[in-house]
Amino acid sequence: MWFASPDEVRGRLAAVDYLADDGIATSVFLAGALGKPLLAEGPAGVGKTQLAKAVAEATGARLIRLQCYEGLDEARALYEWNYKKQLLRIQADDGAWDDIFSEEFLLERPLLKAIRSDEPTVLLIDETDKADVEVEGLLLEILSDYQITIPELGTITAERRPYVVLTSNATRELSEALKRRCLYLHLDYPTPERERDILLAQVPALPASIADQLARTVATLRALELKKSPSIAETVDWAHTLLALGRTELDEALIGETLGVVLKHNSDQVRAAKELGLPSR
């Protein structure tokens, strides 16, 4: 049992400085209660990866992470035989050929590691959309019965199902089949009220009035049609920057000077300065 209720999720995540709204609390609870993987999808920097880490930290579980990228294959995701070591063994002693497909020569990769883990484990499959479509097939298989067949060793079944979180930036649509298998959580930019609370949790030294102003200003920026809207991570950076500058008042000049922390494209900065009537630098 991972969590007793959505309320408990909220409380325990808050204890590790992750603020959950109704959607997060409910889906995190259900993923544990129904034993289904949780797919968290949304723009960059809204706390998808952090969510998995927070669940692990809050429950004292071990975190195993599979980082996806273009070209990721079974050998990197699941397991691989240590070919080099096997060949060296063959060359070295000429009798012991039959045991080169044994545990000793197996290179465990994140998925196998999570399936075999006998302690509570959170498996984070990060940025699933970056992997090739074939990897989805593999994930689908593993997330259906939580078992892996290694021809030479037999079938390994999870004794304790890991708590699985997949994340995606939606740079491409994940397959319907994979989505059907998962619970879905769309993580989006938070309301200013919630972002203020996140700021206060992440940057405790920040005065509440600045947190409020920052959150509302960022929300206003997001309403402009920018190429890249500021993420929560960038709002947090902004707060750190202001603190580092020793400023406790947020005025237009200061916003103008530090806009680069939240807006990375030059054209976005120009547009924001124009729309918000900031003094140009």
Binding site: S5, P6, D22, G23, A25, T26, S27, F29, L30, A33, L34, K36, L39, E41, Y83, K84, L87, L88, Q91, V133, A170, T171, R172, E173, E176, K179, R180, C182, L183, Y184, L185, H186, D188, T191, P192, E193, Q213, R216, T217, A219, T220, A223, E225, K227, E252, I255, H265, N266, S267, V270, R271, E275, L276, G277, L278
Partner: protein, 455 residues
């Protein structure tokens, strides 16, 4: 809410059915997941119930607004005439100026505050019922909004929120007010729907109230507001399209053997080359040429495709963009990276030479394009044509298009018209489609599907 099992099952079944009717692809397995979720959550917690349904049944953000609307109808927060509503309605002040005062207070605060929705419900009860036909009352939003007139409260709220007017603080305050007014309007509309459902059944109102999800909104019929939301869909799509096109070009190129590194590595294994090292594949340079119909018959579509082009511009190393009506001009420069896209679209009509007489003429456009830009399309180019293939009965210049397509590595045509209208009137869809494969592309979903087929 009743937790009587039989009525819960009925409600669940009815709700899932309504979601399917509204276009959400809920599979039987997902329906069962939702049912299992209902058994482990506290059904009296309405927001938990909502999120439990959402987590199990709604797998695309575009489907969420329709889902929420239907959830509010199937699982209403209150039922008229029960004690709860009577109490809250009674607790509100009765005089209009006081009501407006209360509204202003709420609009300056957090719209997630339960008092916000309670007030909206009370106001619908107070002002929302009017004579729809002789002897027949019904519920509407407009009398509520007219009576309370939130827009006329803005000045007062700004004064209350700001020490002095002007500058960024005012912008931020205005944005906050705009957001809460929108939330209030939506809360009123939602309560109006609830009351209508109580009186004349939930199915009927459900069918008429749900707008198609944004990815199914017809490009040619998008409202202004939808267009703004469509714009937000553009960047992820462009990124996807770019990845797809580059994967196609990369396929089968694994990189050549790096002989020296392989040999060097083999030294540690007694000269046996256990590990082979490949040179990284040469970075691919996908090239894209976009030809985009910018005429009025497709203006919302071309607005969207220009944005798409602009977004693609940032993804491809080499993009050339051309716009046309009855002649064609290069617009790559207007869409330089870093340029402001809305500005660029505005400048396009003034600065680009794309109109002679003003009626689309594809044939002339292809001839002119081949003549003015002979080197634009080469063996590494993906050629993308965006338009409705309606050419006002002019000469099609099929031969020229065939030659252009032949020069390109791939060529695709995206047509925003429903397939059923192809070839009607002055449409040359089939003729052009026989030369360049033509895809119906009426909405974001179809565009996304097209992008996926490129894999």
């Amino acid at each position: 809410m009743t937790t009587n099992t039989a009525s819960l099952v009925d409600r669940h079944v009815g709700f899932v059915h309504a979601l399917r009717e509204a276009g959400l692809p809920v599979s039987p397995a997902e329906g069962l997941d939702a049912a299992r979720a209902l058994m482990v959550v506290d059904l009296a917690e309405r927001e938990t119930l909502r999120e439990a349904y959402a987590a199990t049944l709604v797998k695309r953000p575009a489907h969420r607004p329709g889902f929420d609307l239907l959830f509010d109808l199937w699982f209403p927060p209150v039922i008229s005439g029960t004690e709860g509503t009577a109490v809250t309605e009674g607790a509100e002040p009765r005089e209009l100026p006081e009501l407006r005062e209360r509204l202003a207070e709420l609009l300056m605060g957090d719209p997630a505050d339960p008092a916000f929705r309670e007030f909206a419900r009370a106001m619908v009860g107070r002002f929302g019922q009017v004579q729809a036909a002789p002897g027949r009352q019904s519920w509407f939003s407009f009398p509520v909004l007219r009576a309370l007139s939130p827009e006329t409260l803005v000045a007062r709220m700004l004064t209350a929120m700001l020490d002095e007017r002007g500058g960024l603080p005012e912008k931020v305050a205005r944005w906050h007010i705009a957001r809460t007014i929108e939330a209030f309007t939506e809360a009123v509309a939602s309560d109006v729907r609830r009351r209508i459902a109580e009186e004349s059944g939930v199915e009927k109102i459900a069918r008429s109230a749900v707008r198609p999800p944004i990815d199914q909104v017809d490009f040619l019929r998008a409202t202004r507001e939808e267009l703004a939301r469509l714009r937000r869909e553009v960047y992820p799509l462009a990124r996807r399209l770019a990845t797809r096109l580059s994967i196609r070009q990369k396929r089968g190129r694994r990189g050549r053997l790096d002989f020296r590194r392989t040999v060097r590595a083999s030294l540690s294994t007694g000269g046996v080359p256990l590990t082979t090292h490949l040179r990284p594949p040469r970075p691919h340079r996908p090239e894209l040429v976009v030809l985009c119909d910018a005429s009025d018959s497709v203006s919302t579509f071309s607005h969207f495709t220009l944005l798409l082009t602009f977004a693609l511009r940032e993804q491809f190393t080499k993009v050339r963009a051309f716009a046309f009506v009855d002649t064609v001009d290069e617009i790559t420069g207007l869409f330089a990276p870093g340029a402001d896209v809305l500005d660029a679209i505005a400048r396009l009509t003034e600065e680009a030479d794309i109109v002679r007489f003003g009626r689309t003429d594809y044939g002339h456009v292809f001839e002119r394009f081949a003549e003015r830009f002979p080197d634009a399309v080469g063996p590494r180019t993906s050629l993308l044509i965006l338009g409705d293939a309606r050419s006002n009965y002019q000469v099609p210049a099929l031969g020229t298009l065939k030659r252009l397509a032949g020069q390109a590595r791939h060529a695709y045509w995206l047509n925003p018209e429903p397939r059923a209208q192809w070839d009607t009137g002055d449409s040359l869809a089939t003729s052009y489609g026989s030369v360049v494969p033509m895809h119906e592309c009426r909405n974001v979903a179809q565009l996304a599907a097209f992008v996926e087929t490129l894999a």
